[in-house]
């Protein structure tokens, strides 16, 4: 681990390795290990089943959001079909588990790869299309996948849904809230680690070059189409993997959740969290999930007040309203998202009392 160094009061980097290092100081690395230890060792024991359920869902959403951020935030390819890809992953895992008899780990991984393939198929239009045209193409992908999930009854069970057997890992039953917490967050840590390392590698730099100016990137010898497809594939892999985990966690589901609303929810996560930031995707996932929770608590609270019981039923759509409002407000007032807010808070602590 080397010597514990404090953060220098300026930019004194001399070598390229220092520039691309994930942690600027060893304290940063230490804090991440402490945070991970607290998350895996303490959180599942101090939180009740419902809190744990919410935290698990945040973890799953964060994995998918990281994938979407790799695509939109780093490669600059807008996708409105992430919710459908998440659904493809969920169905792939469920079908592999029930019809083929794959074990838990294998079917979730395979779901990731199948979704990556599907994602690459819908990424093909990106050969010729850019910006808004691509955005519309992925919107079409969303509707086509929704249709297939709903109507291919032989495979997906159609509107009646599908039932997934409980997850077992190394002969242990991990389908409960607490065991599954560890499954989700170990995966989450690995996926985060992969994403953070991906964006500072040759591939990540190519993605960023394509985002910033694709013609210039092509001029520098980056095979644009291959990298765009790769980006679609990786992003869909994350979505599919998260979908697979979700399928095992929920045990039974229908095609209903995987609509355009889910896609918008994921985009909201990465915009609110911060485009082009891995930690931002996690913040965004936490924000949206907690907002969701807060709204349903508020609805419940109003429902218990006698006078407003009738009004409470009509309050459910307000959730959508607040999603929209959050997106709009963040776009207008803090376009770089929560990651930027977090950075500002951190640096104001660091610079205290001499902040300027």
């Amino acid at each position: 681990m080397g010597r514990m160094r404090f953060r220098p009061c300026g930019n004194f980097k001399e070598r390229y390795e220092q520039e691309i290092a994930i942690f600027e100081t060893d304290f940063g690395r230490l804090w991440v290990w402490i945070g991970l230890a607290l998350l895996l060792g303490v959180v599942p024991f101090i939180s009740g089943p419902y809190t744990l359920y919410i935290i698990n869902n945040i973890g799953i959403a964060a994995i998918a959001a990281i994938g979407l951020n790799l695509l939109i935030g780093y490669t600059g390819q807008i996708s409105l079909g992430h919710g459908a890809f998440f659904g493809v992953g969920a169905y792939a895992a469920a079908i592999l588990a029930t019809k083929v008899g794959f074990p838990f780990g294998a079917s979730v991984l395979a779901a990731g790869f199948i979704t990556a393939l599907v994602g690459m198929v819908f990424g093909i239009p990106s050969v010729r299309l850019k910006h808004l045209y691509l955005c519309i193409a992925t919107l079409a992908g969303q509707f086509i996948i929704e249709y297939v999930l709903m109507n291919w009854e032989g495979l997906t069970g159609g509107p009646e849904g599908i039932i997934v057997p409980g997850a077992t890992l190394f002969g242990l039953d991990v389908s409960g809230d607490r065991p599954f917490f560890w499954v989700i967050f170990v995966c989450f840590a690995i996926m985060c680690w992969m994403a953070v390392n991906l964006v500072r590698s040759r591939y990540g730099r190519a993605f960023i070059a394509i985002r910033d100016n694709d013609l210039a990137a092509a001029g520098m010898g980056i095979p644009i189409f291959r990298y765009k497809l790769l980006s679609f594939g990786i992003s869909s892999f994350y979505a599919g993997f998260a979908g697979g985990l979700w399928a095992y966690y929920n045990m039974s589901f229908t095609p209903e959740p995987f609509t355009i609303v889910l896609s918008i929810q994921y985009i909201a996560m990465i915009i609110i969290g911060g485009l082009g930031s891995i930690s931002g995707s996690v913040f965004g996932a936490i924000f949206i999930m907690l907002l969701n929770e807060l709204l349903s608590v508020a609805t419940e609270f109003v429902m218990n007040v006698e006078a407003f019981a009738g009004a409470a039923l009509t309050m459910a759509p307000l959730r959508e309203f607040f999603f929209g409002l959050a997106i709009v407000l963040f776009l207008i007032f803090e376009p770089r998202g929560l990651a930027e807010v977090w950075r500002v808070i951190r640096s104001s602590f660091r610079l205290w009392p001499f902040s300027y």
């Binding site: 939109i72 600059g76 807008i78 093909i124 239009p125 010729r128 299309l129 910006h131 808004l132 045209y133 955005c135 519309i136 193409a137 919107l139 079409a140 992908g141 509707f143 086509i144 929704e146 249709y147 709903m150 109507n151 100016n213 013609l215 210039a216 001029g219 355009i260 918008i264 985009i267 909201a268 915009i271 485009l275 009509t314 309050m315 759509p317 307000l318 959730r319 959508e320 309203f321 607040f322 999603f323 929209g324 409002l325 959050a326 997106i327 709009v328 776009l331 207008i332 376009p335």
Partner: protein, 292 residues
């Protein structure tokens, strides 16, 4: 044969409505190159304002029309001023996401206010408009939708061709910087294009409401169906929006009539993917040439 012609008539009139809805969409895109995902919600807002005025307040129909269109004009202005203007010059994804956010906001508000039920307008169309021709029956709604559509197309044609504001809008669409340097008030043009788009949207929302009943989900899904229409016709072509609308409408009703109803919902999107692969700028759209 009767079945065929009946479907043809249905398809044509639905296609006409799509064309009318796409018109407002193209208007915004042409002048400010914003892809408006909240278009369906604008349709629904117009339809519901009309519903409140006509059914709940019981005002005379003509007055309802006028008030609705005026209200939507103001609404378009306000949307542009409050939400779009701060983002002028920002990246494309942020503007698109803003309209997605607006769509969610409006939809949530409308569901909160009206719920997911179907509403009906009071009967006000004259029965004389119904065309009975042998076995084929063209309901007055369809006839009136075509009349309203043609009227508005003519109106916009004149507006863009002869009025000064229309010429400003075309100049901004053509070359924003050049228009700015010639003294065109570009921001006002943006605001005006949103206002007009909201009016057109309200118009088609009302006609759709007469045809199928007023429902938030139904109307806002039309807003997404505008995409295949405008892509087929070409994103920045008003004529293309009309041709595209009619083709998509026919395609949808024929698929619904002869193959299956659930396929009819997605067939426009399947076509959309193929158009994007083969001819991304549509039938009449202008090809973008990118220079570094």
């Amino acid at each position: 044969m009767e079945f065929f012609i009946q479907i043809l008539v249905n398809g044509l009139s639905i296609g006409f409505l799509y064309a009318l809805s796409a018109l407002g969409f193209v208007m915004i895109f042409k002048s400010s190159s914003v892809l408006n995902f909240a278009h369906g919600e604008l349709l629904a807002i117009g339809a519901f304002i009309f519903l409140v005025l006509a059914a709940s307040a019981g005002l005379p129909i003509v007055l309802c029309f006028v008030l609705t269109l005026m209200g939507c004009f103001a609404l378009g202005f306000i949307i542009e001023r409050l939400f779009l203007r701060p983002l002028i010059g920002e990246a494309l994804i942020e503007v698109i996401m803003l309209t997605v956010g607006l769509a969610a906001m409006f939809k949530g508000l409308m569901l909160f206010a009206f719920g997911g039920n179907f509403f009906k307008y009071p009967e006000f169309l004259p029965k004389a408009l119904t065309i009975q021709w042998g076995m084929i029956n063209v309901p007055s709604v369809y006839v009136s939708s075509i009349i309203i559509g043609l009227f508005f197309l003519g109106l916009f044609g004149f507006f863009f061709k002869y009025s000064s504001q229309g010429i400003y809008m075309r100049s901004v669409a053509d070359h924003q910087t050049a228009a700015l340097s010639l003294g065109v008030h570009v921001r006002r043009v943006f605001a005006l294009s949103w206002a007009i788009a909201a009016v057109v949207a309200a118009m088609s929302g009302i006609v759709l409401g007469i045809m199928h009943g007023v429902n938030v989900h139904e109307l806002s899904s039309i807003g997404l169906k505008v995409f295949p229409v405008v892509i087929l016709g070409g994103l920045d072509s008003i004529g293309g929006a009309i041709v595209g609308g009619i083709i998509i409408g026919l395609l949808e009703t024929f698929t619904g009539g002869y193959i299956s109803g659930s396929l009819a919902e997605v067939i426009p999107y399947i076509v959309l993917v193929f158009i994007l692969l083969i001819k991304p700028y549509g039938l009449f759209g202008s090809v973008e040439i990118e220079r570094v």
